[in-house]
Amino acid sequence: MRSSLAIAVRALRRNRLQTSLTIVGMTIGVAAVLAMIAIGTGAEAAITDQIRAAGMNLIVVTAGNYKMKSTDDFGGGAVEPSAALRILSFLEPVLLAHPEDDPMEKHDHPTARQRLGDSEAGLGSAATLTAADAAAIRGIRGVQYVAEGLHQNVHVAAGEKRWFTRLHGTDPQLPLIRRAWTFGRGRFFNAGEQSRAEQVAVLGSVAAERLFGDANPVGREVSIWRQPFRVVGVVTTASWIVAPAPGDDQFDAVYIPFGTVHRLLNLAKLNDITITAASTGEVSRIMSDVTSLLRARHAIGEDKPDDFTVTTQARQALAKGGMRPDVARAVVGNVSGLEKVTLEQLGKTLDRATRTMTALLAGIAAVSLLVGGIGIMNIMLLSVTERTREIGIRRAVGARARDVRSQFVLEAVALSVGGGLVGVIVGLIASSGLAHYLRWSATISAGAVLVSVGVAAAVGIFFGWYPARQAARLDPIQSLRYE
């Protein structure tokens, strides 16, 4: 077997041009297969990504509740003062939503603005959710990522420049939730910086541009609430649909660890908790798990309403979409099963569509493999004729019919596998190029590589068998005489 392989490889080396042309055919076939698989899975992943980016697996728990649990969903029930505040806070969160601004609220500590000497510090923080709630939610089955959220409006200053922007106190997991984010410069803050409540900041690209122009802010210092923060990164979007603009909640913003917000503003609460479900289909189940978990943790009696609101991105969009609050409430209240039906079904439909597309692409690729295989067969048949004399010589010196056959089969396999391996490389390059161009995550699994090389070898054996049999059947005397 090994000597047959050596014979086959030697024979191939003698016909370099023919060998390389045949290999090219196979290369194209395998590269096409790999690129198609990559595009197919990439499309699948891209659609899943978009579903996720669109928030189909996103759940937001907001502190407070503007809807009476006990009342009917058409909005006829009494509205609590806190709920009224909550609705208004969508419009003017700075003015009204802060408990320290609530004349009814009693506290015996110096306010953040007194301690830090910044009149804006501490505005806009909320009531009922805690970091411990977030930690408990992390333990729910099917929960992928959890990010705590504290939101403030702040002035960020860098030297002489000041910029009024949105501050988000959050968790290092947030970039995993915001799938469209990329870090043009630096990085997000890490778990260590979070747990030590360090004064580090990540600037949104708009804020960074306003404060530093084209200069690199990473390593520079900004001040928030008159406290120094070290800039560790600049976040921007990889999406080519939306360009970050001033007023943008995500990129005209500054991100710091929520622990730092807690430490500086002397707070223990969170405004909201953002959760992603590992699977879109589990969103509804996780929502109800979160609700019962938080109700238990907050010791809310059965007849009492939630002191938090669990929404999906879809509901939030509805609620924030400029609709009159009562209309939004009516809509959201009426579509309690909305996520369950539309999101899951949409997800499944998209899955089916991408599977069909993958199958189609795989079909095209299979055809190109077939063409590559026929190329090999053609070249092998030609080579049997061309090398009739060689076959005769080999037979005369003692090659058995099966030695000749295995030589030709192995030549075909060497051609196809050689082409296949080159094809893997070309396919990897092509698909990463495509991925870059289409901004798709074109993933090639080890399995896909193995399958395509395996198929290439199978093609070699299949299409090499017939010419090899022809070669083995040649009569030694006739082949020695062949001119």
């Binding site: 050596a6 003698r14 010589i393 019919a401 030694p476």
Partner: protein, 257 residues
């Protein structure tokens, strides 16, 4: 049939017929003869006399239609193709008119070829190369080992072919018009090698030729005509190639071009 008194080759009533475009052709019409170890047999005859067919049968490249052929006491008439291949590999060496070297393959790789098919014995590539180099040295071409056939003269190519034929140390060497493509000087060189092989190593040589003067180098001359043996005689006045070469070397001008 009993073992034919230790004859290396024993042929009894061998016929060969094949159909060519429907008409039966009787290439051999009943051949019976023995060839003993160490003989240098020259088979002569016009083309179409059946001498090549005879050599193919003796060389286990072809099978007789009728009759028996015993090689070293073993009846090879009914052996399988694989068994015939093994015999060709171990016991028989071939030298052809057209040299039949693999193109675009170095001389030493050509010589190695039989060892690639020596299935019974596992031979390492280094050992293959070593043995091939020894065989090349025996025909005086060790310095041409890496040359390809198209970089070698006809005489050199035929010597590479002889080295290849001798690699597995065969009992018999079959040569089918080995000088047909060579000039007279290199023909004598090849004959000198053959005679040396017979004398020094006791190799049995069967030389097929249509040239009577080439047949004169053999120790026995068998004439074929129309598929039959018409004469079979020992050659007492055989030519000595070594002497002729020495004589040629003494001439001031080499006439060969």
């Amino acid at each position: 049939m009993s073992r034919a008194e230790g004859a290396l080759i024993a042929v009894r009533d061998v016929t060969k017929a094949y159909a060519m475009e429907g008409a039966p052709v009787h290439a051999l019409r009943g051949i019976t003869l023995d060839i003993h170890r160490g003989e240098f047999v020259a088979v002569v005859g016009p083309s179409g006399s059946g001498k090549s067919t005879f050599m193919h049968i003796l060389g286990c490249l072809d099978r007789p239609t009728n009759g028996r052929y015993l090689l070293d006491g073993r009846d090879v008439s009914d052996l399988s193709d694989d068994e015939l291949s093994a015999i060709r590999n171990r016991q028989i060496g071939f030298v052809f008119q057209g040299f039949n070297l693999l193109a675009r393959t170095s001389a030493v790789e050509n010589v190695e070829l039989p060892l690639l098919y020596a299935h019974r014995s596992r031979i390492s590539p280094a050992e293959r190369r070593r043995r091939a180099m020894i065989a090349l040295a025996a025909v005086g071409l060790e310095d041409r080992a890496e040359h390809h056939p198209n970089q070698l003269s006809g005489g050199q190519q035929q010597r590479v072919a002889i080295a290849r034929a001798l690699l597995n140390d065969p009992a018999i060497l079959f040569a089918d018009e080995p000088t047909g493509n060579l000039d007279s000087r290199t023909s004598i060189e090849v004959m000198e090698i053959f005679q040396r092989l017979k004398e020094d190593r006791g190799i049995t040589i069967v030389l097929i030729t249509h040239e009577p003067q080439v047949a004169e180098y053999g120790s026995r001359i068998i004439r074929f005509k129309d598929g039959r043996v018409v004469s079979d005689r020992p050659n007492v006045s055989r030519r000595a190639a070594a002497d002729e070469l020495a004589a040629v070397a003494l001439e001031p001008e080499d006439a060969d071009a």
